[in-house]
Every structure is written in structure tokens, then in C-alpha cells.
Symmetry: C2
Subunit: 140 residues, 2 copies
């Protein structure tokens, strides 16, 4: 598993690094161009401009992927922004690194709470299914 750093990600052999238009990224991620623009308004992505036209690089697509995963996990966009900004934050000085490490810990706590909730939901679901199957059994 590799870090999601959006700035200097390791080149994978098969990576498709063509730049994209807004329609292409939107289509690729199954969202509308309005959604992509909205994320830009909130500062979650900042595509290059050629003239006035937006040009999306791999970095932008990486971030978009992180954004959408964050959404699937139920995080608000503002919080998602602080998280992916964290990945790209400068960590040259010790104080910065320590700050980042602190943030990482907070994030981990949050994610692990969610995991507990998720595991609980899944086992209740499994138990409920067991009951239903037992009921079905009784009905012959």
C-alpha cells in the first residue's frame, strides 16, 4: 500500500498521465462537472489553467479520488480538505512534523471509531440474517 501524496507520487509503469478536461475527469469519476468545480471552489483541487480552461493532471485525479472516498466514508468536504492538505503539508521543520504526526493520530482515532461502528453494524446484520434463515427453515 502506497501513500496518497498528491505532489510527487511514484510513477507506476501503467499510469495514464494524459491531462484531462473537466468533462473527462467528471466522467472518469462518475460525477458532474459542477461537482468538480464545487470542489475547486472549496479549495480541494486546483487544476492548472491554460488560458481560462482547466487542465487536470494526475495529481488532481489523485485528490479527486481521495475526496470521493472521503465522501463515501461520510466526511464533510471541509474536513476532507484538511486531511488531503495534511498529506501535502510542508514537513521540513521538526515542529511541523510533530504537528502533522499529531493530526495523524486524531485522524486515526476517528477512522478507528468508524471501523468499530462498521464492524458492529456488520455483525448485527449477520446475526439478523442468521435469524431470518432460521425462520425460513421453520417454514419448511
Amino acid at each position: 500500500m502506497t501513500s496518497p501524496s498528491t505532489t510527487r507520487a511514484a510513477r507506476t509503469p501503467g499510469a495514464d498521465d494524459r491531462t484531462r478536461t473537466i468533462a473527462e475527469v467528471a466522467d472518469e469519476f462518475g460525477v458532474t462537472h459542477r461537482t468538480v468545480r464545487h470542489y475547486e471552489e472549496l479549495g480541494l483541487i486546483s487544476p492548472e489553467r491554460r488560458g481560462t480552461t482547466r487542465v487536470y493532471h494526475r495529481r488532481d485525479r489523485t485528490r479527486l479520488g481521495l475526496i470521493l472516498r472521503g465522501k463515501r466514508l461520510g466526511f464533510p468536504l471541509e474536513e476532507i480538505r484538511t486531511i488531503i492538505d495534511l498529506y501535502d503539508a510542508p514537513r521540513g521543520r521538526r515542529s511541523q512534523l510533530e504537528y502533522v504526526l499529531g493530526q495523524i493520530d486524531e485522524r486515526r482515532e476517528d477512522l478507528e471509531q468508524r471501523r468499530r461502528d462498521l464492524e458492529a453494524a456488520l455483525s448485527e446484520l449477520t446475526e439478523f440474517e442468521r435469524r431470518c434463515r432460521a425462520d425460513l427453515e421453520r417454514l419448511g
Copy 2:
């Protein structure tokens, strides 16, 4: 792990079955009375009425717990309603049971997707922490 059925849950020895006022449940779950009322408006809970006053039983608190966990997992309230209604759905006839089992499968797919997202996020975070610690090392 026990099923979350809100109708005929097993009596646990230490269970506190006092009925509560809206202020008490709200306080107990760390939400406002407005939130509790909102859930009732959407049909997620339906407390008894004594005169005009709401009386909350253990069943209601169970449902409230499920609602809030659903929220922590990022589900919209409408979807949460269909889920907890599923738990209390009649399953006397075979066709009903089969429908319920189908719904259970859909739910499981969804939850497992979330789990994958969550695991991915957690391992990226761990990898990122490793990098930060390495950076810290280099700084002496």
C-alpha cells in the same frame, strides 16, 4: 453480538428500562431535543404519548442508537429508516423473508465497500505516518 431488533429485544439483567422524557434521551445520546423530534418527523422513531407528552421506551433508545451509528457511518436519514424498518419488518411469509434476505445482501455489499474504503484510508495513514517518522529521524 446480538441483533438490534427494537421490538422484542432480549432483557439484559442490568438494562435500565425507566421511560424517559425527550430531554433525558437527548441528553443521554448527546443530541438536542430538536434532533430527536426531527427523527420522529421522518418516522425513524415513534415514542408513546401520554396526553401530548412523548414517552421514550427502551425500544426508542435502541433505535436512536442505531440512527446515530448510521449517521457516524455517513448514511442519510432516509436510508437509515429503511434499514431499521427492515429489522422490524414482518417476516411471517416466505416471500417476505426472501425480500428481507435480499435487502440484507444489499446492505452487506454497501457496508463491505465502506470497510474497504476504510481499510485503505487507514493503511495510507499508517504509511504516511511511517514516512513522517522517517523524516523526523533524519532531522536527528
